[in-house]
Symmetry: C2
């Protein structure tokens, strides 16, 4: 299997999103230059990205079949399977994630939320029950929850992750603003607001042509 | 000025976070190998990352002064200035961002939230007033809000961005799950959950040694 870069993987949902807009408009085919122009990527990048997931080449002039490309991308991204996940930390951010309406479409099924706050335990957020932490191990095992979404404060993130991994989780989607350590073979993907802001600020201060 | 990669910029907040933990513990110096081991980066990467922001070299054995390095990183990341921002879309995600307690520490000051929902307008979320969209232009101008945080649904994101840019905003921090187009010189940084999940899923399915 071809090796995909992080940046490349991050682009595929943007292709998919735009292809669905085109499909809804009744379009049948799309060319690489059209995708490139709309999404702000280079034409070469678009061709490489699409060739990496699909054997079928686009036909010159006519381009690629939109319906087929959507199917290819959804399969590649795992949207046509179901992966079970648990979410830990039902605060503001965790609550927003529990309410996020698109995870099911992406093949991600959050089976329960967890929190230490007795005010939250037993309630539902976004239709998901909030359970106490001592139910974490059995829930991960029962639902074969491979992904753990971590939305706890920094100071408790590592402890929570260790606990989840002991119960059989294989991937950590870390929204806590701190580094977490995991053993070899365990996947960590960070959504770090400070990191994203660092990129934005740097570009704003040093690359924007309109900066003061 | 040296050119920084996105991945490199994204690492600096993790250094800073760990350095603050060390400082709180009363540590004075830190070596590159220690940082590398704790954060899961290579030693070479750590040395390169730190040299890129600081003239001062670490002394062999002794390492770098933690207090000084914190100061360097905070200055580099813009945490010691104040940049005004507005947030548009006070739903679940927007609300979580308005409640996020660390933006002020990062030099980001959200001066107001905006929403079209009359139920939300006039209320406060996370201590920030929610204003109607027709106040957007004057608020951006009054506070010189250079950053616009976009947390609206996909279908209205482009329209909102166009409106904000017309009022003088220079950077878009886009949390809407869609591509947005901006003129040359305007900065866009996406926080896209689908992109992050794409990276996580791919690693889980094709790189994790424990995958089934």
């Amino acid at each position: 299997m071809e090796r995909f870069s992080k940046n490349q993987l991050e682009r595929y949902p943007f292709y998919l999103k735009f292809l669905k807009v085109l499909e809804e408009k009744g379009e049948i085919n799309v060319s690489s230059p059209t995708l490139a122009k709309e999404l702000g990527y280079s034409e070469e990048q678009v061709r490489k990205d699409l060739q990496a997931v699909s054997d079928e080449a686009g036909r010159p002039k006519k381009g690629r079949n939109i319906h087929q490309l959507i199917e290819t991308l959804e399969t590649f991204l795992g949207y046509r399977q179901k992966t079970a996940a648990v979410l830990i930390g039902a605060g503001h951010l965790g609550g927003a994630l529990l309410n996020y309406p698109y995870f099911e479409d992406m093949g991600l099924s959050i089976v329960a939320g967890f929190d230490t706050d007795p005010q939250k335990v037993g309630k539902q957020i976004g239709g998901k029950e909030i359970l106490p932490l001592d139910k974490l191990a059995e829930t991960i095992k029962e639902y074969k929850a491979t992904i753990v979404i971590v939305a706890v404060p920094s100071f408790s993130a590592q402890e929570i992750v260790d606990l989840a991994l002991k119960s059989g989780a294989l991937a950590i989607w870390n929204f806590a603003p701190t580094h977490i350590s995991v053993p070899e073979g365990i996947v960590v993907e960070n959504v770090n607001l400070a990191s994203s802001l660092a990129v934005l600020s740097h570009r704003l201060n040093f690359e924007s042509s309109k900066g003061e």
